[in-house]
């Protein structure tokens, strides 16, 4: 292993790590909000909303994320990092929507009926009764989606987003020490994904206990 790669390029690797973290965090938050909204749309008692939600999910999740990132970059007047984050959000939200919808569907129907009979509106019943129960069920699949999101953020590299993968590309191009450079890049990704993975496991156990 050529550790001089690591020491001489630490600045650019850390810069890349920072951008990867920021892009992942924003996309995580954005896709969680957008995904929840889409899931609710898909099961709302209003047909046009259902269609809209279904159309979005089916359309987006059947396009490669690389293509979506490219579209976001070329269609809008954004820099690589912004476009990449938007692309990731658009893509991931479709999967989040499916995970959350599955969670909502697994809450027994009687819950909604009981909540509505106490006088709550559909929106209130969803927010106060159904979603809190659904969230526990969807934690594991959501965790997987978020880990995927961090890894998919490496696609920022193809639109010059300046992320960890992009820095790795430049370092390997400059030094020709291709293999070792990507080993270090992989380790940096592990630093992000392993704690995420452990965190999801912990949350899962805690929520299970609170039942």
């Amino acid at each position: 292993m050529d550790f001089s790669i690591l020491t001489t390029n630490m600045d650019s690797l850390l810069e890349g790590l920072k951008i990867t973290i920021i892009a992942s965090l924003i996309a995580l938050l954005g896709s969680f909000i957008l995904g929840t909204l889409l899931a609710v749309m898909r099961i709302a008692p209003f047909k046009p909303l259902n269609w809209l939600g279904t159309a979005y999910v089916e359309f987006i999740r059947n396009i490669p994320v690389l293509v979506i990132v490219f579209f976001a970059y070329l269609a809008g007047n954004f820099g690589g990092m912004t476009a990449g984050t938007i692309g990731l959000t658009i893509y991931t939200s479709a999967f989040i929507a499916e995970a959350i919808r599955a969670g909502i569907m697994s809450v027994p129907r009687g819950q909604m009926e009981a909540a509505r009979s106490t006088g709550l509106t559909y929106g209130q019943a969803m927010r106060m009764v159904i979603l809190p129960q659904a969230i526990k069920i969807v934690i594991p699949p959501l965790g997987n989606q978020f880990i995927n999101l961090v890894k998919n953020s490496s696609l920022l590299a193809v639109v010059a987003g300046g992320d960890l993968m992009y820095q790795g590309d430049l370092i390997s191009a400059k030094t020709y020490v291709t293999f070792d450079t990507y080993v270090f890049v992989a380790l940096f990704y592990l630093i992000l994904t392993i704690p995420l993975s452990l965190g999801v496991g912990y949350l899962e156990k805690r929520l299970a206990r609170s039942n």
Binding site: M1, D2, Y73, L74, N77, G80, V158, V159, A160, Y166, D169, L170, S172, A173, K174, Y176, T178, F179, D180, V183, A186, L187, L190, I194, L198
Partner: protein, 268 residues
């Protein structure tokens, strides 16, 4: 108790994974110098050339025929025939500026004929033949752009380049104020230029001419500001193959075949 055990297991797995990856790196070096490339070519009766698939005039995959076409390809075929006659079949594999050295070193390609500039830095990694084409770095801009030469690349301007090319290193030296964005290949860099993601695209003039030919609303400005002698790269330590290629290159030049191929592709 149980929890601690689980954490330890997890940590161990992580460390093992890291060691495994590190181990792969070590193995590679010992496999590298295994076999003489020239002998292998003769044994397999085929020579694998690494060429560009996205570079008009030099190596471009024609979508309607599926064939790769260009100066580099025709030259490779002529060289293979000159050295080995009809016995050895030339095959072509796509390389990019980013992948070409790696593919040479792991034996996936025997020789790289892919608009590759001979540099001192690269000579440490691979062996080069004599120069087979003289190019120079230049700028491509939209017609009517305020950028007319390298001096116009001041703070606030953005130049697009390709990862792993000498041009991305040169432009940082010659115009340190400008922002450089690097893409995977020339097609993507040119698409980004067309989408207004930068003020200019920089690489060798020979490649830029191909882009200007494809879309005449773009033009080269400011002449060339570097010299980019292209060489054929082979894996380090294969002097015999380099000698054979040099001999063949010389006889192609002497017989006029080289000029014939060059005139077919490069008009300027």
């Amino acid at each position: 108790m149980f929890k601690t055990k689980k954490f330890v297991t997890m940590a161990l797995v992580t460390i093992l994974a890291a060691l495994f990856l590190a181990g792969c790196g070590g193995d590679k070096a010992s496999n590298e110098s295994s076999k003489d490339v020239l002998a292998q070519i003769k044994e397999d009766k085929k020579i694998v050339f690494g060429v560009k698939h996205d570079t008009r005039l030099f190596g471009l995959k024609n979508p309607s025929t599926g064939e790769v076409e260009g100066f580099d390809i025709d030259l490779s075929k002529a060289l293979a025939e000159e050295i080995f006659g009809k016995d050895v079949k030339p095959e072509f594999v796509e390389v990019t500026s980013k992948t070409r050295v790696g593919l040479l070193n792991n034996g996936k390609v025997d020789a790289v004929v892919a608009t590759m500039t001979i540099t001192e830095e690269r000579k440490k990694e691979v062996d080069f033949t004599d120069v087979y084409f003289d190019a120079g770095q230049s700028l491509l801009v939209k017609k009517g752009s305020k950028i007319q030469s390298i001096e116009d690349l001041k703070k606030g301007t953005t130049v697009l380049a390709v990862k792993g090319s000498t041009s991305s290193i040169n432009i940082r030296e010659k115009a340190p104020e400008t922002t450089v964005l690097e893409f995977e290949n020339y097609a993507e860099a040119f698409t980004a230029l067309k989408a207004g993601k930068g003020d200019a695209l920089t690489t060798d003039d020979s490649i830029l001419y191909g882009m200007a030919e494809e879309d005449p609303s773009y033009e080269l400005v400011g002449g060339t500001f570097t010299e980019e002698p292209y060489g054929i790269a082979v894996k380090k330590g294969n002097k015999e193959l380099v000698d054979e290629l040099n001999k063949a290159l010389k006889s192609l030049k002497d017989s006029g075949k080289y000029d014939e191929i060059k005139d077919k592709w490069i008009k300027n």
